[in-house]
């Protein structure tokens, strides 16, 4: 840049000191196993998360088999069923979605999109993954200890979580709590990296308000996670002490099996407060990265700037801040002062405002855009549908009076699966398809991708839409079998069979995804460095997939990430590192 004349527009602050030295691995083990490159760590995180997610998918199919065909399968008894429910929820929320969005996409996207060589602390980043991996192994091990895994439900409410009678109170719950504590330690190491990298390692010209929304979302979600996970850590430590040293943090005086236990004076509701103080921000820890990734995909494939960029940033911040003062809406049935109930219902409904701003902005981004219905775009649009659907039922459940009868029914199951399971997972698929050419250097099979989308999208509706009706009828969740109940109509058994068949179809159709990913890795055609015509820096790397250190020379950023279809320019996108002078040459000559 030295020979460029420094006019006001093109001026870039000079590099004051030399760049940081990159760590170069010398051994095979250091290069592929204990690797400190954020991109490799991202792939390690993603593979482990998706692997354990498949286990949880299998558990959900086992549950659906039992609900649809009670007393048919010998390998599912009430104990197993409760363990499946617990492990399915815990794995999906924490070990799959949190790890995949922050550990997977966070690690891959943050350095590349910000024009950095790597995370600020690559070694800590590597340790973070291995601690996560250990947490996963401990969780899996809990299936095989005497008494099996915990069956307390993913919320682990005491006193039942550690009292005899609940499955897995011998070793299962201990391993579960240890695994959670380890996960939090590992995540904190990663999270410190993500936040510090965003704050300190952006390339020159990349101001905060030029960051892609993906980075904004991952940044705020990481801050939420760093502040919310301690609540889970605190409750895990206290429950572990209750279980092992017979303290009475959460355990009231209880008569069990005819005898008085040693517990005295603990407060189970205290656990619920701590748990949901973590649990509600956790919803947004999963949702915010999905919001960010989907904004990116929609803008690129609609060839249009994201509508209301600044509003989108502030909506993310507002959602993050609000998510800390709504936790007690998970506890309406635990009983509370009506004024508290009113307060939490109000804050809950207020979250709808920034969320609605985001939804409107996504739809307005599509409005009169040059929409390309590629596979990632299909998933992104599918996300808008499922998210609106799940969000609207949230308005019902946020009200105390409506929540009380619907609590613990299939209506709740339908709500949170729509909004927190199907929606983020659609984004995960969309994002994997979108960045697959960059990550692997090869194109995926378009036809298989479309088949995968339609099976997953329509199938998810077939699973969760009918559940709303079951819930309105009063069918309780988590039950092993229903038998003859007056208020549950006989036809709901048929509906359950239909739901289970749909679930099996959706699960089976994921084979299209995995086949596509693995087959294209070897046989897919070579991908263009920027197949979608995107503006962000990860598409501007000299190699595809990006090499160690990401860039030859660190890019200089002159513009925001959303210069699509700028009037007067022939090319319908201007990458972030194109200076105004270079852009002049791209402008149309014919006026």
């Amino acid at each position: 840049m030295a020979d460029v004349i420094h006019d006001a527009v093109d001026y870039v602050p000079p590099l004051v000191v030399e760049e940081e030295e990159l760590y170069h691995a010398k051994t095979w083990l250091g290069k592929y196993v204990f690797c400190q490159d954020a991109k490799v760590i991202a792939i390690q995180y993603s593979c482990v998360a998706i692997g354990i997610g498949l286990v949880a998918l299998g558990l959900s199919i086992a549950m659906r088999l039992q609900i649809a065909f009670p007393d048919t399968f010998a390998f599912i008894d009430p104990t197993n069923y409760l363990q499946f429910v617990t492990m399915h929820g815990m794995i999906m929320v924490i070990y799959l979605l949190t790890a995949l969005f922050l550990g997977g996409f966070g690690n891959y996207m943050i350095p590349l999109m910000l024009g950095a060589r790597d995370m600020v602390f690559p070694y800590v980043n590597m340790v973070s993954f291995w601690v996560y991996f250990a947490a996963v192994l401990i969780l899996v091990a809990s299936f095989f200890v005497p008494g099996g895994a915990s069956g307390a439900g993913w919320t682990l409410y005491p006193p039942q979580a550690i009292m005899p009678g609940t499955p897995g109170t011998d070793g299962g719950i201990i391993l579960m709590l240890l695994s959670l504590a380890l996960f939090i330690v590992g995540f904190t190491m990663g999270g410190l990296n993500y936040v510090t990298t965003v704050l300190q390692q952006r390339t020159r010209g990349m101001s905060l308000m030029r960051m892609p929304l993906t980075i904004w979302a991952i940044f705020i979600a990481t801050i939420l996670a760093l502040l919310a996970f301690p609540a889970l850590l605190v409750s895990a430590i206290m429950m572990l002490l209750d279980r092992l040293l017979e303290t009475s943090f959460f355990m009231p005086a209880i008569i069990s099996a005819g005898g008085q236990t040693d517990y005295d004076g603990g407060s189970p509701v205290l656990f619920q407060h701590l748990f949901w103080f973590f649990g509600h921000p956790e919803v947004y820890i999963v949702a915010l990265p999905a919001f960010g990734l989907v904004s990116e995909i929609l803008s690129v494939h609609a060839r249009k700037a994201i509508f209301g960029y600044r509003m989108m940033v502030w909506a993310i911040v507002a959602i993050g801040a609000l998510s800390f003062i709504v936790w007690a809406h998970h506890m309406y049935v635990s009983g509370m002062n009506p004024y508290f109930g009113f307060f939490f219902a109000t804050t809950t409904l207020i979250i709808a405002v920034p969320t609605a701003i985001k939804v409107y902005n996504w739809v307005l981004t599509l409005w009169r855009g040059n929409i390309k219905l590629t596979v990632p775009m299909l998933f992104a649009i599918g996300f808008i549908f499922t998210f609106i659907n799940g969000g609207l039922t949230g308005l019902f459940l946020g009200n105390v009076t409506i929540d009380l009868p619907l609590s613990d029914t299939y209506f709740v199951v339908a709500h949170f699966h729509m909004v927190m399971a199907v929606s983020p997972v659609l984004v995960v698929f969309g994002a994997i398809y979108h960045w697959y050419p960059k990550i692997t250097g090869r194109m995926f099979n378009d036809k298989l991708g479309r088949i995968h989308f339609w099976f997953t999208f329509v199938g998810s509706y077939a699973i969760y839409y009918p559940m709303h009706y079951l819930g309105l009828e009063g069918m309780p969740r988590r039950y092993f079998s229903y038998g003859d109940t007056e208020f549950i109509s006989a036809s709901s058994a048929d509906l359950n069979v239909a739901i289970s068949i749909a679930a099996i179809f959706v699960a089976a159709s994921q084979i299209f995804f995995f086949w596509n990913m693995i087959h294209s890795l070897f046989k897919g055609e070579k991908a263009d460095p920027n197949p979608w015509g995107a503006t962000t820096l990860e598409w501007r790397t000299p190699q595809t997939p990006p090499g160690h250190g990401n860039f030859d020379e660190l890019p200089l950023v002159y513009r925001w990430a959303y210069d699509y279809s700028v009037p007067g320019y022939e090319q319908d996108f201007i990458p972030q590192d194109v200076s105004p002078a270079e852009a002049e040459k791209m402008a149309k000559r014919v006026e």
Partner: protein, 229 residues
Amino acid sequence: MQWTLLFLALLMGVVVWWLIRQTVNVKPWVAGANVDSVESEGIRSVVDMGGALRPSKVALGVFLAVVTSVFALFISAYSIRMEVGDWRPLPEPMLLWANTGILILCSVFLYGAWMAVKRNNVQGAKLGMTLGAVMTLVFMVGQLLAWDQLITSGYVISGNPANAFFYTLTALHAAHLIGGLIVLIIALQRLWNAEEFAPKVASSIELCGVYWHFLLAIWIILFSFLLNT
């Protein structure tokens, strides 16, 4: 939960104030270079960094926010539980006052070590760090003795929630000190045979000081809560 919420509200206030300063009146869609953004990455000499923040200092700040969150949650749980009728507070051994004094000394020694770094006095830094590490160990032995006194007078962990909170909070505080001690000892070992300060070591010394001051503040807050029962 009021303590946690208070802490979070303060933190959110800071974050939002900072974001407003960074983002309001910015027109992201206008192309051109932005002078305000991060100038470079790389290592400058630790002492003459001036106002610029090092990544490790930012990371420590974020980590301290996380640790504060942990303790704020414990204190919230503690104060919620305290209001229930069957709370039987345990007597605080006088030893805890002595321990508090020792922890203050640790902070002073580490502050002295950082001052020595600023004056480029390697021997002084070694002395300050060694004394700081030794005093930290003395503090932890003192805490163990306090535990021992309580246990021999019959206040065991499973006796009453007040006891359980006391042991858990002191153990958690000590665990954080042990983590800091590991970093401190690594830095001390690197400094031991060196003639001058490597940038990383100098940085470690400063950050250790900050961390110890923070843990001292946490201990004083915890101690005042324990005294107030």
